[in-house]
Amino acid sequence: MNLTTDQIVAMAPDDASLKAARSLTSPAKWPLLGQSSDALWGECQGSGSKPYQVSVDLTSPGSKCTCPSRKFPCKHALGLLLIAAEKPASVHQSDPPPWVTDWLTSRRQKSEKKVAAASQNRETADPEAAAKRTAKRLARMKEGGEELARWLADQVRGGIADYPRKPSSFFTAIAARMVDAQTPGLGNEISRLESMIHTGDGWPRHVLGQLGRIYLLIEALRRFESLPVPLQADLRAELGWPLDREEVLATQPLVQDNWTVLGQTYAERDKLWERRTWLWGQTTRKMALLLEFAYGNRSFAITLAVGMRIKASLAYFPSVFPLRALLADEAIGASPLSEPFPAYPDFDSCLNAFADALSGNPWLRTLPVALDGVTPLLRDEFWLLRDLTGTELRLQQGDLEKWQLLAESSGRPVRVFGEFNGRELRVLSSWEQGSPAFVATS
């Protein structure tokens, strides 16, 4: 698994770690440096008397360091990776010391145990107890839903014209009630409603649409038992009650394939970091979304970056349109993609795909799409993407990103991957001859 400097930079939890890592790239600081086909390791002189022992697993993304830092990967691991990428001659091939082989062995064992435990869970899952828990929660949620339905009716009866003058507490109060009723998803929808009020002249339409969306969720909740099982799962996800990870790993079939990372985003809200990683399976020809969370630091255990390819087994969350998935085993690094992934030739096919997805799961927000032959452009201060038929769609990107995307394409059609919400596209990567050219950085 050969990482490029760009990919290593993308893995850093924050700027301070990256800066510290760069200052650790002089081989003089590393009394011991070595690599084998499986791993990369080193001893780094820190401020203490004993040097820190750092190792990086080259087959299955991950690293370990004896330093006390809570960030992951720590600056020592990043520094080691940077040395390997930029000064490979300083890292000699040799046999790994015992502390490295011990770590690798325990990693393999843990991974095997995890897979075994998952299949065991599969066999001993108690369906009856699970059903009881579900029914109890569902009843509570339905009560909450009815309360919200009455609230919605009040709103519509009295009229929403005075929304802009309502204090924030008006909305946070009902959102909090929904959290109490164990439907935090409905609470989020109320918050989203509130933020729509201040978006300008067109707010009544958007707010009404959102009220309608919430109402449909409640209507669906009323008829929960009669919904097809995959749709139940989608509804639960919207209501803020997704399946447990363990449950998913225990009950869903495992899909093994070579997966390429096509895009990645990081978002932070109230100190909770969310990482979305989009994977494309070479044989299954399906997309998967890994959703991971970290509190405080932007530290994620599995180091994945756009352009990497891994061999792994995934378990999809049930859904009418399965996207979200979990890694069921330790991913193993694979060589980069040999053939290009498929892409829509124009926006029309992309929109049809979105409509299809919506007809299955009406609450779908974003669809991962790959498009060929699109040209980013700026016109009258609007950022647009134009396909070969001349159809144009709005682009949604960060400030410097827009220009970086424009610079990579320079007025020529390119292949992109991004998230489509029905109206706008957020480009997460552009590709040239099988390698990522533009990569969204936030």
Binding site: T4, T5, D6, R22, S23, T25, S26, E86, A149, L152, A153, V156, R157, G158, G159, I160, A161, P204, R205, L208, G209, Q210, L211, G212, R213, I214, Y215, L216, E219, F347, L351, F354, A355, L358, S359, P362, T375, L377, L378, R379, R386, T389, G390, T391, E392, L393, L400, W403, Q404, L406, A407, E408, S410, G411, R412, G422, R423, S435, A437, F438
Partner: protein, 482 residues
């Protein structure tokens, strides 16, 4: 539907309707729920039925491909990315210069960041333009904030710099043209002058300093007498002071003659008693600037000395060193030295005077440095070497390192290397911040030398930075010298 929602169903009882196809879905509910259900359905239906327009607007022509562009796969790209992120101007300038010499341009992905850097730091613009290339120009054309790069990828000799560039670029064009066609450049300036702002005039006029000739006198004299901006007139007066045969020079000489006499190699200085008639027409000022602790007479003397051609003093049959040493002992030392300093700075190519002035000493080292920088490189180096090798003061050394902004000679570097242990021992924080700058100064042939650093924790971080910079420079030279 929206208006019903705004007013409330209590006030508007008409049942909401979607379409014939969808209305059956709304049956059997109260008015409120009917409206909510309709809103929810239409939300989904609209999302699925999006039909973005096919545009008939023409697209911007794609950027011409630039064969000189570095590919993203090059090992230089991450290095350059880091340089731009860290924003250290000296290294960025050096990297851009190396790229330009190898006739290469920045990779696409770095162009927006480079443009932002040029927008915020105008001193980097001249270095960035050649390496932004055609692609940079194409992108800059789409963002008014990046106007400075519109002519990236073109040379100062390109006429478009005059027609389309900003004031700095136009001044650079004139300066370039003055080398091959001085009168043509002057004519261009003459024609443009009436239509320019005062600020632009102040930036463009100094370009005439190159290849200054007597034919330039009429135009500059007209600027001196008629321009509305004091700053511009002062620039004109300084230019004319470099033409010893001009009317202006004659007038100044006449005025100075009244104040300076000499007998048997001794100078007698008697500053003017009054501010003469017609002096303000020549951009001289009656009142000294606030904060200058000189009396009126001293101030007038200073101005006279600063604007009279230095060659006049030589007619007194004294050499520059002699004149200066007598001036330094005179009771009018301050205005005289200040006047000489200004004259030497504006009347360039006066190596004798500059060296004499520096030898005279008593100058703030800052001033000495600035003066030394006006010398041709061979002379400047000797001055710097002297300061570096004689000064054991690390604070001063730091100043030299930071302001000696040109290519150091091997002997300057060796002088610094020898003094290094003395400077380090003083553990000066100013010197610590100059260490990374020192790494940028090492002449390229010595980059590979290893240095013996004493183990002082105070400098640990700065030394890391020092080594990183030398590593970066070595890579740049290795890759681009092939």
């Amino acid at each position: 539907m929206v208006s019903t929602a705004l007013l409330g169903t209590a006030r508007n009882a008409a049942p909401v309707s979607l379409s014939r196809l969808l209305d059956p879905l709304l049956a059997g509910t109260d008015a409120e729920f009917r409206l909510l259900r309709a809103a929810g359905i239409s939300e989904v239906v609209e999302a699925a039925a999006q039909q973005p327009p096919i545009s008939s607007s023409p697209m911007l022509a794609p950027c011409p491909s630039d064969p000189l562009q570095i590919t993203s796969a090059s090992e230089l790209t991450p290095l350059l990315a880091r340089l731009f992120e860290e924003g250290r101007p000296l290294l960025i300038e050096e990297a851009c210069e190396l790229l330009a010499n190898a006739s290469l341009c920045l990779p696409s992905r770095l162009i927006p960041r480079a443009l932002e850097l040029g927008r915020n730091t105008s001193s980097l613009r001249a270095a960035l333009r050649p390496v932004l290339g055609k692609r940079g120009a194409w992108i800059a054309a789409q963002n008014p904030a990046w106007k400075f790069a519109l002519l990236a990828g073109t040379e100062a000799a390109d006429r478009r710099w005059w027609d389309e560039g900003d004031s700095m670029q136009r001044a650079a064009f004139l300066y370039e043209l003055r080398q091959t066609d001085p009168s043509g450049a002057r004519t261009l300036l003459e024609q443009a002058f009436p239509g320019e702002t005062a600020r632009a005039r102040a930036i463009l006029l100094p370009a005439l300093a190159r290849s200054l000739e007597p034919d330039d006198e009429p135009f500059i004299a007209s600027v001196l007498s008629a321009d509305r901006s004091k700053e511009v007139r002062q620039i004109a007066s300084r230019l004319l002071s470099r033409l010893p045969d001009s009317e202006f020079a004659r007038r100044m000489t006449g005025r100075l003659q009244s104040s300076v006499s000499h007998a048997q190699a001794r100078l007698a200085i008697e500053p003017p008693q009054a501010f003469g008639a017609g002096w303000s027409d020549d951009a001289l000022e009656e009142k000294a600037p606030a904060g200058l602790k000189l009396g009126d007479r001293g101030w007038w003397l200073q101005q006279l000395v600063s604007l009279t051609p230095l060659v006049w003093w030589e007619l007194l049959e004294l050499d520059p060193a002699d004149v200066l040493s007598q001036a330094a002992k005179s009771e009018w030392k301050e205005p005289l030295m200040a006047g000489f300093r200004a004259a030497i700075l504006s009347q360039q190519d006066n190596v004798k005077w500059t060296l004499a002035f520096l030898k005279q000493g008593g100058l703030e080292h800052q001033d000495a440095l600035r003066l030394a920088l006006t010398l041709p490189p061979t002379d400047a180096h000797s001055v710097f070497e002297e300061i570096l090798s004689t000064s054991g003061d690390s604070w001063l050394a730091a100043q030299v390192i930071e302001s000696a902004n040109f290519k150091w000679s091997p002997s300057s570097w060796h002088a610094a290397k020898k003094q290094l242990p003395h400077w380090l021992v003083q553990q000066d924080w100013r010197f610590r911040s100059a260490l990374p700058v020192l790494a940028c100064r090492i002449p390229r042939q010595f980059l590979h030398e290893s240095l013996d650093w004493p183990d002082i924790p105070f400098f640990a971080e700065a030394l890391d930075e020092f080594y990183r910079i030398t590593d970066q420079r070595k890579t740049l030279y290795r890759v681009l010298s092939q």
